[in-house]
Symmetry: C2
Subunit: 457 residues, 2 copies
């Protein structure tokens, strides 16, 4: 809870604001490997599913009601809803919904959820302009690179201080992405990033409230407006990030400047992005993964005498709730996670609903799960043994849970996640059509063909 | 340039978010002294003059052009211009213009310019709602109290870190003022302040660019939107200000919690607000004041052999430019300030124009000003001697310059300042009518009668 170190002002910081701006303005379209291009598609698709999935959440209702008070022009879509609002408000609301289920992407090096701020801003602007899918992908890759690189410069000190790093770097990524989409030159792009630098959004104290998902939404909005201001000649300091009273030095004692520009244009931070398979904290993921694997090996709930977990102590500290009473409590119960993994073979937002958490089948199996602490097991690992009524023991050991960087979700798993989020909101036909549009996003002439699909009939 | 101290998280902070919210929601209308009420009128009037005065500045042009890209509904006026835009954009632009000339109010205890964020948000919302002048004054006094009290909690550490404290406390005051205007209850008001707490706006690195005045504008916008969100049921932490990962502890090592609530409802921070008589840094003010006094005593430029200043060393460090070449450089020249004080009897924005700075009469007199450092003289004081061609010596000593807390601008001086700002933009008749409307603001049934006056024909 205390800061790591106290450091004096650094008067010799390199000019990272202008270096990043030049990169964003000049880097060639699709100037990266096939692997980066694939990750850009996966990042966009995962973000879109999360945003649509939470479209009917009460946080979305409240946010839409608030922006409607501005009587906005119908410039861009609220994904998964009928409303169209001005592009800045669309960036705000879509940023909120994409993070509402805590089910979005994670740049594991910094625990930034980068798509929320960047994609929400970029798509809203692109929809209003009728930009192509190629332009959106370019803006997304470059915007995420800026946000995550500044995250790398400051993490962990910046996060440890209490900043919700997704929103307090996201405005930079959103500004950069929107500047790219607008075709700003490098000087104007530096202004866009500079204006955004004055607007970090996010405190960790807000976790557990609607203001947590507000952070990526607010960052998306701030970044989009910063780019629009820069496009009209508004000025900022060209050293807004690195100066002694610039953003990084004001908000962090760690200032690893090299992270901003090392291998710039060669290494892309979107390569380190991951997608959650389960709609809960990352610490339960190995246990759920193991139980899904048990199910895959033919173990059924009625065969089970009990299930033994050996886990790192942190798992029980954070998620040791024995008898969760509702969906939210279910997210803090490794026992519940194991039960739905074995019964349903998944743990999406639906498996953390009140109905599933109180389902007698789930409760009965949950009560058969026993957990023992074994600190020889890593935080990200688990050893699970299913002891069956016929005396058999089926064991599964997970070292790298599904969804981690070394064991990423397959495209098919990502699509299943998307379907589970989107079908309840838009139906199967639209979910299928959106999936197809996202798969060919790079060749989509106008993203309005995609955003139209994201509105209910 | 380094932080004062490093302090651990404070787990015992009092619940200032909810205490301030209760105060804002429950304090009676006009529940303060005649002196506070008078200062509220003066604060509003001074802010309005600054906003109108800068309406044609290129920063205003760029900001208006950017918000027009949102195709905003005509809900509220851009003061001093024809455009009407949505209320959130009006809050943004009016906040920008009110600080563009660096000529707005100053809460000297914290160097916050409080009206920029608070009045800009409150008037835009009030115009859209058709609120009364009384409601605006109540919201202004209470909103400024919240912003400046949080400033008192954190100043100077928060400012020393590099935060532009006007925009990084202003969002709280704007949220509080708008919550009051909306009639939110104390729980919703706490949410409004809480949502705003995640959105500080402002880095000191931006000084010298358009993003400096963007800070109060961005804070106004953020606070207004926070109140609208809270009115629609959006939630935040009720400990967003004081928790270990809440705003104050994240953004400051100084946490004088008592400042948030000492004499709450009895002492009002707006009582400590001051108004600049001269459109330049405060350090030159005593010298200009003295030269205006010389003029009042009948000294004319053609009588002067030379003018001798005895000043604190800081005056020459900050404003020692001997031969300024343009208006901006003129703001950093005590010599120029003295010349316009004696010639024009004032030093408003016009006296820092390129034309006046290069006017041969001004240049000739400026060259006759001599300054000597005398550190027995306080920073806020000056000793000026006019040595005349006929051998006479006329001396003026200023201890508390005009515009300071101990020697505030008179109402007549404030009106003269207002006229100088507003007449060039709106003409004499409107300037007079607006002055009359502001004087009777407390009894104005609908502020749209005032804002209509602030648009050119």
């Amino acid at each position: 809870m205390t800061r790591n170190t106290q450091v004096p002002a650094d008067l010799t910081a390199p000019p990272i604001t202008t270096l990043l701006a030049r990169f964003v303005a000049r880097h060639p379209s699709r100037g990266w490997s096939e692997a980066v291009e694939r990750e850009a598609h996966r990042t966009f698709y995962n973000w879109l599913g999360c945003a649509i999935g939470a479209a009917q959440h009460e946080a979305a209702d409240a946010a839409v009601a608030a922006v409607q008070l501005l009587q906005p022009a119908p410039q861009a879509s609220v994904l998964g809803r009928r409303e169209q609002v001005d592009m800045a408000s669309a960036a705000l609301v879509n940023g909120i919904t994409s993070h509402t289920f805590d089910f979005d992407d994670t740049h594991l090096k910094t625990i930034i959820h980068p798509a929320g701020p960047v994609a929400s801003a970029v798509l809203a602007l692109a929809e209003h302009r009728g930009s192509s899918g190629r332009e959106v992908l370019d803006a997304l890759v470059l915007g995420i690179d800026v946000a995550c690189r500044i995250g790398n410069v400051m993490y962990p000190d910046h996060y440890d201080r209490g900043w919700h790093i997704t929103g307090s770097t996201g405005m930079l990524g959103a500004a950069a992405g929107c500047a790219r989409l607008l075709g700003l030159d490098e000087a104007q792009t530096a202004m866009a990033i500079g204006i955004a630098a004055s607007q970090p959004v996010g405190l960790r104290e807000q976790f557990g409230t609607m203001t947590k998902p507000f952070h990526p939404g607010g960052a998306a909005r701030a970044g989009l407006m910063s780019a629009l201001l820069a496009s009209q000649g508004f000025t900022a300091s060209p050293r807004a990030l690195e100066a002694p009273r610039g953003f990084v030095q004001v908000a962090s004692d760690k200032r690893a400047w090299n992270e901003a520009t090392d291998e710039l244009g060669e290494r892309f931070e979107i390569s380190f992005n991951t997608y959650k398979p389960f709609a809960c904290g990352i610490v339960i993921h190995p246990s759920i993964d193991a139980c899904v694997q048990l199910r895959g090996q033919g173990v059924t709930p009625d065969q089970v005498k009990h299930i033994e977990l050996r886990v790192h102590s942190l798992v029980l500290e954070l998620t040791g709730k024995k008898a969760p009473k509702d969906g939210l409590q279910g997210k803090f119960s490794v026992y519940h996670g194991c039960a739905v993994g074995l019964i349903h073979g998944r743990a999406g937002e639906e498996e953390f609903s009140d109905a599933v958490v109180t389902d007698p089948r789930v409760v009965a199996l949950r009560d058969k799960v026993q957990a023992a602490v074994d600190d020889s097991i890593a935080e990200a690992a688990v050893h699970v043994t299913a002891v069956l009524l016929d005396g058999r023991r089926v064991e599964v050991r997970v070292e790298d849970a599904i969804g981690s960087l070394r064991n990423p979700l397959s495209d098919a798993q990502l699509e299943a996640k998307f379907q589970a989020l989107v079908v309840p909101v838009l139906g199967e036909a639209k979910a299928r059509d959106i999936t197809a549009a996202c798969a060919s996003l790079a060749s989509l002439p106008d993203v309005r063909a995609l955003t139209a699909l994201c509105r209910p009939q």
